[in-house]
Symmetry: C2
Subunit: 428 residues, 2 copies
């Protein structure tokens, strides 16, 4: 059988990894698919640049059309990143009946439905395992492994940069700014870290996971997002004393047919498996009605983990090609999307208040919770004897967001409350 | 399209769960496969028995042939357990062109190669996700998710009973016998717990995982097995003080083209993700050359997790049926099996010795290690001041098993060594 020809859009670190694996594992790939796989053309920005892998000069091109319009190429692997150009090239490739493997989370979060619809129209595959949690086969797991279950909750540590920062802050008692600077020096955080630290990257991934988990077209704008830039080392220290680690969690929840998706720093009980996921690792916890609790842990990024996911997708597409069954992965968002209202979103909460240090204040505070029917799990007064300010930490039972907003608004108006220092969702 | 008919062999707890899911999720199953799925016939031992699910009397039969020979039935789900009869029924079903979904680890560990060969001959599917770590889609992950990677190590907590016992011993400082008795009362351990506590159940699962991970036909007899019945609460306490949890680990390792598979109680460093897997949960840690570290966590058993895995397999087989591609899952053990020798199996080790309490003993002990070129990571003398016996704990660097056996043999012959109290493999 003649080799399956692959066109590569981009030859950065991940593209280089793909070339390395495809060339180094020919025997394994042949055993698994019955076909040789050949990287036939590679789109690069500058043909003359020196490369970490040897790709023959006649395979390199600076024109995307050399790749997209090559009739010999069956599969396009998009690893160039960015949104508009990548989308254009993918749509044009699908128009020409080519199958797509992509690692582009931004693209899939924003234009996934349009791309998947075009693929369905053309009978083409679009595989995108590497777009979420690089080395963890979570998309395959949601589509196939949980196909007979109903997922009610997905909680993910899906951004390695913020998990590295929060882990370091927790382990070393260090402040956010110092750890961010260190992460930037080590290359774990970008010069402009906004997308990571403000939770936008995690929100894109949760858009993809929510869509798959709940069979509804979740949009990026459906995700409520809060990042980690306001997390203080004091919050982390107080959390620890109460048995929690602060993690940036993406949370997608379903009750009956209503869903909510959010990203926020969260106090996670130490006994929960997500609490011990540290450093740049990612983990996705999935709760299914039948299966119960499961968790998938692994590297979230990196040249080789991401490239491995891409090549696993490539193997799946090649198998489909040989079997003549492309475009039939069997996933479609067949459920109408209904978002929860604030009244329907419930969680436990951690609240740290600075209050006036006089008799009766605690009673006034707890009265506010009672008025809005928020019941309390624990109240800790003066948690820090060394701190002259009167501090109160409150952990609520499950309370809905509308009630919590009213409680916090009332605190803002009270003279005895000097500051609402921090509010966290609590899980585990 | 007419419904796909399924024959069920067995209606115990797992079979009941399968009926519940298939009946309760018809809409989801239809959306995912484009076909209705119907449990058409069920083999039971006693038709007159009261059941937890309502199955119409005319679907129940006490004769396996009513199921196996029914020309309308496409897929046989084997959840009766046991080995000889189950094997016979599966082979006879394959002979008649029926596809198989089974949860039977004993059968797959012992007769997997024969069953898979028969399936290949007949162009039939055999799916067996539920046979290892019930609710964790680890088989699908190894076959598909890691298809482009080379796995070098699989470490699994794959037996819930022993993990429950070891977790309890660790959390409560309790003795093995007491916790085992409690586990038996709670139904977490069988009246005859041998298969679990002596590691045989874990060995069967590691046979299956080793075969998949290394693409070689691993046999049950290739697995070296040691159970947990000799683990003392003192060992666990010492391990904790040094930063380890004792876990029953199945370990499958590959270096170059040599493999080894073992099951043994192991000191796992607390920072390793496997160390915090507690209770009846299972977890499988997989190391791939490209992807690095990954871990999959979830319920190891139970009616609904296991039934969910079975129905996910059922969905995959139905999709294959509709696409006409059964029998082409693409896994075959294409690599010749080469087992490591004792000289090639290396690990760190934890050794607890009772020795004569006099000057020069430690020098004699460490001299034995030096003679056999085993280097030491740490030595702890008199770790327990309350214990009148002179105790020494030694943790080695990576040492090969042949050398370790010689060291231990020499200790046995030494007058100053009163007892080799315990020896554990160390990981993490």
């Amino acid at each position: 059988m003649k080799p399956i020809k692959v066109g590569l859009l981009g030859l950065g670190t991940v593209g280089t990894g793909v070339v390395r694996i495809v060339e180094g594992h020919q025997h394994d790939l042949l055993s698994q698919t019955g076909a040789a796989i050949e990287v036939a053309k590679v789109l690069v920005q500058d043909k003359s640049k020196t490369r970490a892998v040897a790709v023959p000069a006649d395979k390199l091109t600076e024109s995307p059309w050399d790749v997209i319009e090559d009739p010999e190429i069956d599969i396009i692997v998009e690893v160039m990143g960015g949104i508009d150009l990548a989308k254009q090239y993918i749509i044009e490739s699908l128009e020409r009946g080519k199958h797509i493997v992509t690692a582009n989370k931004d693209l899939m979060a924003l234009h996934g439905p349009e791309i998947l619809a075009k693929a369905a129209e053309k009978g083409c595959d679009v595989y995108y395992e590497a777009s979420v949690a690089g080395g963890i086969p979570i998309i395959r797991t949601l589509i196939e492994g949980f196909s007979s279950d109903r997922i009610t909750k997905i909680m993910g540590i899906v951004n390695g940069t913020t998990n590295y920062i929060l882990s370091k802050m927790s382990q070393e008692g260090a402040a956010y700014e110092a750890v961010l600077k260190e992460a930037q020096q080590l290359g774990y955080a970008e010069a402009d870290p906004t997308s990571d630290v403000e939770g936008f990257d995690a929100a894109r991934k949760m858009t993809i996971l929510g869509t798959l988990g709940f069979h509804s077209n979740v949009a990026l704008s459906d995700v409520s997002v809060r990042g980690i830039s306001q997390v203080s080392k004091e919050d982390i220290a107080y959390g620890k004393r109460l048995g929690y680690e602060v993690k940036l969690l993406g949370i997608a929840e379903r009750n009956d047919d209503r869903i909510s998706i959010s990203v926020q720093p969260t106090m996670v009980k130490m006994s929960h498996p997500l609490a011990s996921v540290n450093g740049v690792y990612n983990a996705v916890y999935v709760y299914g009605e039948a299966v119960g609790e499961t968790m998938f842990y692994g590297p979230g990024a990196g040249e080789m983990p991401t490239a491995t996911s891409i090549v696993a997708d490539l193997v799946a597409v090649v198998r489909n090609l040989k079997l003549g069954i492309n475009g039939q992965r069997g996933f479609s968002p067949y459920k109408e999307k209904k978002l929860k209202t604030d009244e329907q979103i419930a969680s436990k909460n951690f609240i740290l208040l600075h209050v006036e240090d006089k008799a009766g204040v605690l009673a006034q505070i707890t009265q506010v919770f009672a008025e809005h029917e928020v019941s309390l799990e624990s109240v800790l007064q003066h948690p820090n004897a060394l701190n002259p300010k009167a501090e109160i930490i409150i952990i609520t039972h499950d309370a809905n967001q509308a009630a919590m907003k009213k409680v916090l608004k009332q605190f803002e108006a009270m003279d005895v409350v000097h500051a609402i220092k921090s509010v966290y969702r609590v899980e585990g």
